[in-house]
């Protein structure tokens, strides 16, 4: 009789890519919940919209590339890219901004490079950076004022209508400068105490933002606990950011304090969900630490001395450039060898 012929191993542990991606989405839910709670319906609407566009554009491209659409789309990676963009974009970003971001992420940054596994740059961050430099007004004036969902935030239909209207700027009363933006622009002419009186900071560190970041931190720890991501990139990322803000900005009257760096803006989302995209990140443990630290340091530099109040997208993309270089110099030491064999023959190394 004919027996099954197979190369070893014969046993496999089934946690396929599709399930890994599903867990990433599940882990992002607390963050999305906090965003909705503190900033209204905007993020939720964006998430749904972005996932839809992402899956549709991925399917279209797969069809053009003559790939098995149903099989590949089930890996859930396009949905994760959509989700991450939906979580990152301003709450009242007009629909076409989101659409441009998603399409450039999926079509240009992912599929044109060869699809899953072949993209050197984080697709979601390519999309984000593209709309940030292309539509600065829409991307900076549409951040929702922190207001509890049940207490003053615009309703679901109003939010949906605002996004769907496609207006560059939303209703003035609904939006507000982000804490990082406010601090960055006011601190030059005010003391820290004066700056912090602005309602965007609330009573704590950064109203609403602190909870959103805490929720993403919790989700990230879940991913580490499930061994879906390793701790190295988030540790490097947060470590780099903390070291930089303690080394250069311990005077709150000159620079944003470390608490604001950690708990305002997209820090935790970036550290646990964006920088950890394995395809575009460094591979070895040492490499991941360096890669994460590079992102953390760049975020601080851009936030403090650059033109943008937040800088996750640019920092991640810049470090994506450095990944081949980092990988080249950070292979692990193999068992039985005295030291790691750096570089690769034939690659100028």
């Amino acid at each position: 009789m004919a027996f099954v012929q197979q190369s070893s191993p014969h046993a496999h542990k089934a946690r396929p890519t599709s399930r890994v991606m599903l867990w990433v989405m599940v882990a992002a839910l607390p963050g999305l919940f906090a965003q909705t709670l503190f900033f209204g319906w905007g993020n939720l609407i964006n998430v749904v919209f972005c996932i839809t566009i992402a899956v549709l554009s991925e399917a279209a491209l797969l069809r053009l590339r003559k790939k098995p659409v149903a099989f590949v789309i089930r890996d859930n990676t396009a949905a994760v890219t959509g989700l991450l963009l939906g979580l990152s974009l301003p709450q009242f970003a007009p629909w076409w901004v989101s659409m441009v971001a998603v399409i450039s992420a999926i079509v240009v940054a992912k599929q044109l490079y060869g699809g899953l596994g072949s993209n050197p740059f984080n697709p979601a961050m390519v999309g984000y950076a593209l709309v940030l430099v292309s539509f600065p007004v829409a991307m900076t004036t549409n951040w929702a004022e922190p207001a509890m969902l049940w207490d003053g935030a615009p309703g679901f239909s109003e939010t949906l209508a605002t996004i769907a209207s496609g207006q560059q700027t939303a209703v003035d009363g609904w939006t507000m400068a982000t804490p990082l933006d406010e601090y960055k622009h006011k601190i030059a002419s005010h003391t820290s105490a004066e700056v912090l009186t602005h309602p965007t900071f609330g009573d704590g560190i950064a109203k609403g933002w602190e909870w959103v970041n805490a929720a993403f931190l919790a989700g990230g720890l879940l991913l580490i606990g499930l061994r879906i991501i390793s701790w190295h990139i988030p540790a490097g990322f947060l470590g780099g950011l903390i070291v930089m803000s303690l080394a250069f900005g311990n005077n709150a009257d000159l620079y944003a304090p470390v608490s604001l760096h950690l708990l305002a803006g997209g820090t935790m989302l970036g550290a646990f969900f964006i920088a950890t995209d394995p395809v575009s990140a460094a591979t070895s443990h040492q490499g991941k630490l360096i890669y994460g630290a590079g992102i953390g340091i760049l975020i601080y530099l851009i936030r403090t001395w650059g033109n943008y109040p937040d800088a996750v997208a640019f920092s991640v993309l810049l470090m994506n450039f450095a990944v081949p270089f980092i990988d080249h110099y950070t292979p692990p030491r193999t068992y039985g060898h005295h030291k790691a064999r750096r570089g690769v023959p034939g690659n100028q190394g």
Partner: protein, 608 residues
Amino acid sequence: MTHLWDFPGGIHPPQHKDFSTARPIRHTGIPERLILPLQQHIGDPAEAIVEVGERVLKGQIIADVKTGMGVAVHAPTSGLIESISEHPVPHPSGMADWCITLKPDGEDQWCSRNPVTDYRALDRDQVLEIIRNAGISGMGGAGFPTNIKLRPPRDRKVSTLILNGAECEPYITADDMTMREKADDVVAGLKVMAWILRPERCVIGIEDNKPEAIAAMRKATEGTQTEIAVIPTKYPSGGEKQLIQILTGMEVPSGGIPADIGVMCQNIGTAVAVAQAVLGGSPLISRIVTITGEAVREPGNFEVLIGTPIEYLLEQAGIQLDKLSRLVLGGPMMGYTLTTEAIPVIKTTNCVIAATASELPAPPPEQPCIRCGQCAEACPMELLPQQLFWYAKATEFEKAEHLNLFDCIECGACSYVCPSSIPLVQYYRFAKGEIRVQRAEQLKADHARERFEARQARLEREREEKELRRKERARAAAEAQEKKQAEAEKAAAEGEAVDERSAKAALVEQALARKKAKTEASQPPPAADITEEKPDIESLEKQLSQAQSKLETMQGMLDEAKAQQADNVEKLERAVAKNHDRVKRAEEALTEARNKLATRPAESQSTH
């Protein structure tokens, strides 16, 4: 409490060991035919020393390795040698190889055995010879001849002897059951090996999922200094390199052997075989094999004669052929699938898994690598599996080698965890195979180049020597010419006074004499005369110098071969001796000829 270290990576696959530990070890008895492959271990194949039709006794040596590395093969029972022919053997490729087929006569009659009552009274080399002649090779993995392993290089003192009872692969319980039921034999074998090696420390490493085996071994080692190290269950803790790391914290250098760091690992089954060989006088003719999987009704461990067909074993364990989908030889992580159940059990066969389709399902289709790094997390050797995969796939073997491809132990942990279900190990095997082929071809090409260069150098040398000799001859000729001329001039000067007429007369006389000589020469003279009269010094000299130069070349080649310890030394030595003779003969011929030449002028004067 033994101090334990951890090794990086590793996985925790489902054990499935309880399938085969519920029943005690059973004996399968004697099958209708035994098929004994001539090559059952690493090294050189054995040569059959019996004839077809010959009756052999149980334990009799029927094949042996005369030159090279290897151990003997024995008849597992008495019977007739039915054939010596090609038959499918246990190999991942499903290939056939030379096997001796034995038809048992049912009498199971032993040949004479020589148990040793006190091996301590013997020489260590004698004990090693007993182990060799008992046909023992490592029974866990590749099957390295045990007597050779037990004699590490002189400068490599083994200070830690490890008995590998980890048995980390799922399903396999052969060592577990052996430790439970034959703990005393295991310890006795360990003692023999310890006596040979004189280590400072003896450790038996057992995974903590085998409490019965641990208890049995504790009891058997009571009062001895042997440590029982209970190690955490984690695949592949039973890998030699990993077990050494767990028990000593040291790493075997890449490309080296454990003896390089003063450690040696031996298998549980090997220890039992050594005990039976030395203390019982019985060669290795049977072993414990686990027959398991959901397609057999009564899985368990069997004491099986070497050469028993797998088919027969499966029947004993109650095979349900309708359920059987995959037949794996070895464990589910590193074993290989069989194409036929007709192959025999050999010395390294530890497990047969008869799996149903739902038990070991086909993996889902391969997806793109997302560089998630799970493979690197699982790798016990701290390699970069995904980079190795990229380079293997792109056939960039040089880069794969640079990333230590050859340190991969093919444990399968990376493939096991890969979320994209990429058959990583298969890619590595492919790359290793290709590199080995390339290396072999490179070696061949190098040899061809060396041969060509050597030939060119020889031709050049010969040409130069020839040229030198030609010049030498030309110089000699010119000198002779000069001398002649000088003599002629002298004679001319002396004979100046002589009448021209008389000179003319002399010339005529000379011409007449020449003519006479010529006519005499044209008469056919006796053949012997010619050779005697005209010994060809020149051609003899040439012969001699040729023989001498050839001798020199041969001597050079011989020296080189000796330096490189090539295997054609003997041949070259013969050639050199032959050339010596040739030179001698040429010299003799030449001196003879010269002597003749020296005596002849006198003779010719007297005759003419």
